[in-house]
Amino acid sequence: MTLPTPDPASDPAVDPASGTIKLDAGPAMQPVSPLVENWHYFTRSRGAVLGLGVFMAMVAIAVLAPWIAPHDPAVQYRDALLVPPAWTENGRAAFLLGTDAVGRDILSRMMHGARFSLLIGLVVVTIALASGILVGLIAGYVGGKTDALIMRVMDIILAFPSLLLALVLVAILGPGLFNAMLAISLVLQPHFARLTRGAVLAEKNREYVTAASVAGAGHLRLMLVTILPNCLAPLIVQATLSFSSAILDAAALGFLGMGAQPPIPEWGTMLAEAREFISSAWWVVTMPGLAILATVLSINLIGDGLRDTLDPKLKRS
């Protein structure tokens, strides 16, 4: 196999005027700015771009739901109980994805459900991220007995299967959307604490931290301004993972009757109501689950794209 020989015109080492090789030609390739480079790597993955697109669409749907949903999600049409999707035999054009057992339009409920799911993800990740980073920073930076104690507590939380712990917490606090969010935040927080602590420990003894400390930086500044920004990559990736975990866990709690309570159109709660119609009305079961799948999948795709972008080891030329 013969390759085209490298074109002297495009070789930065070659002086265009005389056709000779410059012996001090500088870097072999022009470096690009980090943001451009990261965006380039991110968009190299079609999956990541697709995920971003779908997620943006979900956000748009959630925000605009009150205006773009064809029906009010709470209205029960007595003459349209368990109507199949519009493209099937007995379907009706007014109800694109059909109706549920009490005659509510599934599409509208799903659109409004997006608001709850995205809200859950946002709130849970914010709480877990903030508290986890705080705890992890303190543990990693202070070290010693404080570190040991904090990590023991994290280990104890992690010793319980997360769904089980969330269930028990909700049992204590009482079922409901808000309590479910709190419970899930608590369960997800140790991941952030551990990550932050690990990153802080790795960075703490690096030269640039010592340099900043010698230059007179106080503890708070060292923690937040010097060390933390260098630990961000794994935290960002974990945040996307936790976002999708939160949505799935909230849906699971809703399915078990412990999360958002009916008539809130949370997707998991919708599935709980749909369970008895497995054999008779498949669309009541399938649709809300598809919504969960689409949302979580798009977030995971974004997370994957971010991981590939931010992890230097995987950058292969």
């Binding site: 999956g47 023991r152 507590v153 280990d155 104890i156 992690l158 010793a159 319980f160 299967p161 997360s162 769904l163 089980l164 269930l167 028990v168 049992a171 204590i172 009482g174 999708s244 799935l248 849906a251 699971a252 399915f255 078990l256 009757g257 412990m258 998991g268 599935l271 369970r275 497995i278 054999s279 498949w282 079961v285 399938t286 809300p288 689950g289 969960i292 799948l293 979580v296 999948l297 995971n300 795709l301 994957d304 080891k313 995987l314 292969r316």
Partner: protein, 335 residues
């Protein structure tokens, strides 16, 4: 290796104390009077109330209650179920084999398929096989598994009629319970069709429960393999002129398995959460379903005892996996 083992064992002790503390605190965190909570809607007469308070020791100071609680645990007393009046430990042991059988089948399936898929995807990086398996894995852990279970039931049980909807064995089969594992007991009983029935009942729940671990193991194996494939010692192996199958199957895999062992261990906790959902949908009589039912029945002694037992079990499994990791990683095993 010995030091590693000992250090791991020592680490467990404070964590174990911690989970007993949490289990203990749990009942006392519930709003309302503990005796009334346990009595439920029926309520109790004032005399019975005082009796129960004394019996359960709720009138003693907190620390005293905790010490008594630990004492009871050490004697194997994990409380009593309010609905069945049986000891919690007995109820747990009766249901545990069902969950164990399901979990074992699931983890074996997940490991075998997951590792194979991960190796294949890593070796054929960037090809359609890689993209297809990784996409499938991504979908696998992006799905709510209770929905996945319902879909599979719609397809295989309702529409195709291939598999049953619930339970561990057909209602027409009766045989003595020896090990608690349906697969083994049905074989031992020698009854025609018993094993087949047990297998049929096991298929869908196993697939559902195995889905997330399979997806995660596949992805982890692929990423571990990719990292290993980029190491210098892989170039050494190839420079020796070894066959590709030996280079991948021995030199790479042996190293990649080290982080994968940890991953498999982490999936045990996930499996427990998944078991709760799976057992609920398939009416599988294991500890997951037991916990859910007890929570809704407000059988709080069961919830407390079950929580503790499950957490302890997960810790033991994690410890085992930790030790396994120490065996598998030469840097730990040979200091």
């Amino acid at each position: 290796m010995l030091r590693f083992t000992l250090s791991r064992l020592l680490l467990i002790v404070p964590t174990f104390i911690g989970i007993t503390l949490i289990a203990f605190v749990f009942i006392r965190m519930l709003p309302g009077d503990p005796v009334l909570l346990m009595a439920g809607e029926r309520g109790v007469s004032p005399e019975r109330h005082a009796e129960l308070m004394a019996q359960f020791g709720f009138d003693k100071p907190m620390w005293r209650q905790y010490v008594d609680y630990i004492g009871q645990l050490l004697q194997g007393n994990f409380g009593f179920s309010f609905s069945t009046k049986q000891p919690v430990l007995t109820e747990f042991m009766a249901r545990f084999p069902a969950t164990l059988e399901l979990a074992l089948c699931a983890i074996v399936l997940a490991t075998v398929l997951g590792v194979s898929a991960g190796i294949l995807a890593a070796v054929k990086r960037g090809s359609w096989i890689d993209q297809a398996t990784m996409s499938a894995a991504l979908v696998g852990y992006s799905m709510p598994i209770f929905w996945w279970a319902l879909l599979l039931i719609i397809l295989f049980s309702t529409t195709l009629g291939w598999t049953p909807v619930s339970g561990r064995i057909s209602l027409t089969q009766f045989f003595p319970r020896v090990t608690g594992f349906m697969l083994i007991d049905s074989l031992l009983s020698g009854r025609p069709g018993a094993f087949r029935s047990a297998l049929h009942h096991l298929i869908l729940p196993t697939i559902v429960l195995a889905t997330i671990p399979l997806a995660v193991i596949a992805r982890q194996t692929r990423s571990a393999m990719l990292e290993v494939l980029g190491e210098v010692y892989m170039m050494t192996a190839r420079s020796k002129g070894l066959s590709p199958s030996r280079v991948i199957g021995l030199h790479a895999l042996r190293n990649a398995l080290i982080p994968v062992v940890t991953t498999i261990g982490l999936q045990v906790s996930v499996l427990m959460g998944g078991a709760i959902l799976t057992e609920t949908i398939f009416s599988w009589p294991g500890i997951g379903k037991w916990m859910i039912d007890s929570i809704s029945r407000r059988d709080y002694q069961v919830v407390q005892g079950g929580l503790l037992l499950i957490a302890a079990m997960v810790m033991v499994v994690n410890l085992t996996v930790d030790l396994l990791y120490g065996l598998v990683n030469p840097r730990v095993r040979h200091k």
